[in-house]
């Protein structure tokens, strides 16, 4: 793939397929996500977007295909060889969930502290240094609280830091989940429908947050989204899926005018779609 060599892809998905019994959820999908860019994965309901996400973040083991993550320092990681928590710990891929999965009985601050588990585990000498209250542990703990405080400030929740996460309004929970994912200091941030259920004002502040993450942290972002205003506003690159295959990709403007995408979204049947395609090309 020549495009692959020119563009600097942090994530390259190659011929990814995922079958559940006889159902093909994702069929021979290939796409890339550029470094320090926002890539959107869109498509009608049931197109297989979340399945792709679950493959990338280690919740599913793909039937075939490869997913390569190229870190800034040059070392590559094949994501399909890692599983479970190692995707986040070693490959530095963080994710959020379509239906928010915060720790509702823990405070907003505690949620962000749990996210720094691996770094804090090392600092606490696998608990032993922490148990005796070693100075090095206290320094690390304070740094972790400061990082959490910074993120709470950025998502405008500093005054609710000590409230239970389950008590926060829906929009705040969405932003807190993103902040929690960012506290793992990821190279690639995967967001599953971050704007779902948000009103226009909350969507706008979400877009702002994502753009500032890209600008300040340099984190690459891959997101699934149905809210087209968010997708069009912040995406650098859009990949469109339908029935488990990629039907189009390109800049937001390019994708918006693509007849196949329009056909897929309008729910036209195959003949009509072909007719639309032919008339378009």
């Amino acid at each position: 793939m020549s495009a692959d060599q020119i563009l600097d892809h942090i994530l390259s998905v190659d011929h990814l397929s995922m079958r559940f019994g006889g159902i093909v959820a994702v069929n021979d999908l290939s796409f890339g996500a550029e470094r320090r860019k926002i890539t959107a994965l869109i498509g009608p309901n049931g197109a297989g977007k979340t399945t792709v996400f679950n493959c990338i973040t280690g919740f599913y083991k793909p039937t075939s295909g490869s997913m390569r993550l190229a870190h800034d320092d040059g070392h590559n990681i094949q994501l399909e060889r890692l599983n479970d928590f190692r995707i986040s710990k070693q490959a530095k891929v963080a994710r959020t969930f379509q239906n928010i999965r915060l720790f509702p009985g823990m405070t907003a601050l505690e949620n962000l502290m749990v996210a720094q588990h691996n770094a804090l585990m090392r600092a606490s000498g696998l608990t032993l240094l922490g148990l005796i209250g070693a100075p090095s542990w206290r320094v690390a703990e304070k740094a972790a609280i400061d990082l959490a405080r910074t993120w709470l400030e950025r998502i405008d929740l500093l005054d609710r830091a000590d409230d239970a996460a389950g008590n926060l309004p829906y929009g705040d929970q969405r932003r807190l989940e993103i902040a929690r994912a960012m506290c793992t200091e990821p190279a690639l941030l995967c967001l599953d429908e971050p704007a779902a259920g948000l009103n226009a004002r909350e969507s706008a502040s979400l877009s702002e947050l994502l753009l500032s993450i890209r600008a300040n942290q340099g984190t690459s972002i891959l997101l699934i989204e149905h809210d087209m205003s968010v997708v069009m506003e912040i995406s650098d690159h859009v990949v469109v899926m339908d029935y488990g295959v990629k039907i189009a990709e390109g800049t937001p403007q390019h994708v918006r005018d693509d007849p196949r995408v329009i056909a897929a979204y309008l729910g036209a049947d195959e003949e009509e779609a072909i007719a639309v395609m032919e008339s378009g090309t």
Binding site: F97, F103, T107, L109, S124, I145
Partner: protein, 433 residues
């Protein structure tokens, strides 16, 4: 406090009528008719409709009373209408409970020096406080339902008993060994049950507890089988025995020997062990491992997405809980001087689990109060003979109606920026294994 959800008079009567009807059907044969074999072997029977009517009336009345109590005190509405002064006074009193209780516990041997019964009861209560705190790590913090906790208690007790009787090792060397061995068995149990959740986890841990007991019962050459292990050495105060001899503690201090010395020593020993358990648990909660346990209880999938190794997190919870169980077991062995598999039945596991659930899962103070209520209360009802269990069961049912999340249901955060405010029990998950 009439909320929209509070049912009216008609509802209460309907419920009472249904309860009475069920009671009538159930008791009509059990109480209403009494059968006996006659002198020639023929069936004779007579009716006791008076008793039956009384029983049904009791159920009818009781149902109304329970329903009324639920409306007044129970969690019916979302907002409890309690004056703010009362709330603040209660929370002030609540903060004093733990220190007052601790000071009182320290003074128990001084106040009740001559009452052997109270001292023995105090040791028993403290043993269960320690077991409760140990199990609290597994059930309360990590949310893993463990019905076989007594297995670790047994491992600790037999570790000390066998090491001391066979190799002559002292209590203070055996104590950490017993803890380590129990933790090892905790990890061993942890491995096969890692993938199990909820009910399945409970069943497997229950079976594990029984397996340990059966091994102890049948491995005659090592454990002595049902005869148990006898002649377990009494603990020494760091090498100085608490005996009437010339090298005993009393002789060295130049005071008159009294068997109470040993009881007082045991009291402070288990108090120290329990406080150690408490201190370590409180400390661990504020460390990443403790937060990971609680996060695991809240949402395991989210934990994995954050890069937390759920396998090792669960195993450390099992191992930590088991270690405290093992330490308590070693204490039990040295206190009794004799142990047999009979001391480690499922009943013990259930009792410790009841203490944790009753106390409010995750709450250290709640577990201590529940242990006091369960063990102390059980002794209190001794005068009621065969009705003891009944009264006790009823007390537990009532408590669960009024405080479904235990005596102390709310959760204290492990870290805070400005305000250290408790988290309501409605938000805190119980965990699903």
């Amino acid at each position: 406090m009439q909320t929209s959800r509070a049912p009216g008079v008609a509802f209460i009567f309907k419920k009472a009528l249904i309860s009475a009807l069920v009671a009538l059907v159930l008791f009509s044969l059990m109480i209403g008719v009494r059968t006996e074999a006659g002198s020639d072997g023929q069936l004779t029977y007579w009716t006791r409709f008076g008793d039956l009517a009384m029983m049904v009336a009791t159920v009818f009345g009781g149902s109304i009373v329970v329903e009324l109590l639920r409306q007044w005190w129970g969690p019916v509405g979302t907002v409890r209408v309690v004056p703010p002064q009362v709330t603040s006074a209660l929370s002030f009193a609540g903060r004093l409970v733990a220190p007052v209780l601790l000071i009182f516990t320290f003074l128990v041997p001084v106040i009740f020096y001559n009452e052997r019964y109270i001292l023995d009861l105090g040791i028993l209560v403290l043993t269960y406080v320690m077991l409760g705190w140990g199990l609290n790590v597994v059930v309360g913090l990590a949310g893993l339902l463990d019905l076989g906790y007594v297995a670790f208690y047994a491992v600790g007790a037999y570790s000390y008993a066998l090491l001391a009787t066979n190799f002559g090792l002292s209590f203070w060397i055996c104590l950490p060994l017993a803890g380590i061995l129990a933790a090892f068995w905790g990890v061993l149990l942890g491995f096969p049950v890692l993938r199990l959740r909820g009910d399945y986890l409970a069943i497997v841990t229950l079976a594990f507890g029984e397996i340990i007991r059966l091994v102890l019962l049948n491995w005659q050459s090592l454990t002595g089988g049902p005869n148990g292990v006898t002649g377990i050495p009494r603990p020494t105060m760091f090498g100085i025995p608490l005996s009437p001899g010339d090298d005993g503690l009393a002789a060295k201090l130049g005071i008159e020997f009294s068997p109470t010395h040993r009881i007082v020593f045991l009291f402070y020993l288990i108090l120290a062990l329990a406080l150690l358990t408490n201190w370590v648990t409180i400390r661990l909660r504020r460390l990443p491992i403790g937060r990971a346990w609680e996060a695991l209880r809240e949402d395991e999938v989210a934990c994995r997405a954050l890069g937390i190794n759920t396998t090792t997190t669960k195993l450390t919870a099992f191992a930590t809980g088991a270690m405290f169980g093992g330490l308590a077991g070693a204490f039990f062995a040295t206190r009794q001087g004799f142990i047999s598999p009979e001391s480690f039945t499922f009943h013990e596991s259930a009792l410790v689990l009841a203490i944790v659930v009753l106390g409010g899962m995750g709450s250290q103070l709640g577990v201590a109060l529940a242990a006091l209520a369960m063990i102390g209360g059980f002794e209190l009802f001794r005068g009621l003979d065969q009705y003891r269990m009944l009264v006790f069961g009823m007390a537990m049912v009532l408590l669960m109606i009024w405080r479904p999340r235990g005596l102390i249901g709310h959760r204290a955060p492990t870290v805070f920026l400005e305000r250290n405010q408790a988290i309501s029990s409605d938000l805190v998950k119980e965990g699903h294994g």
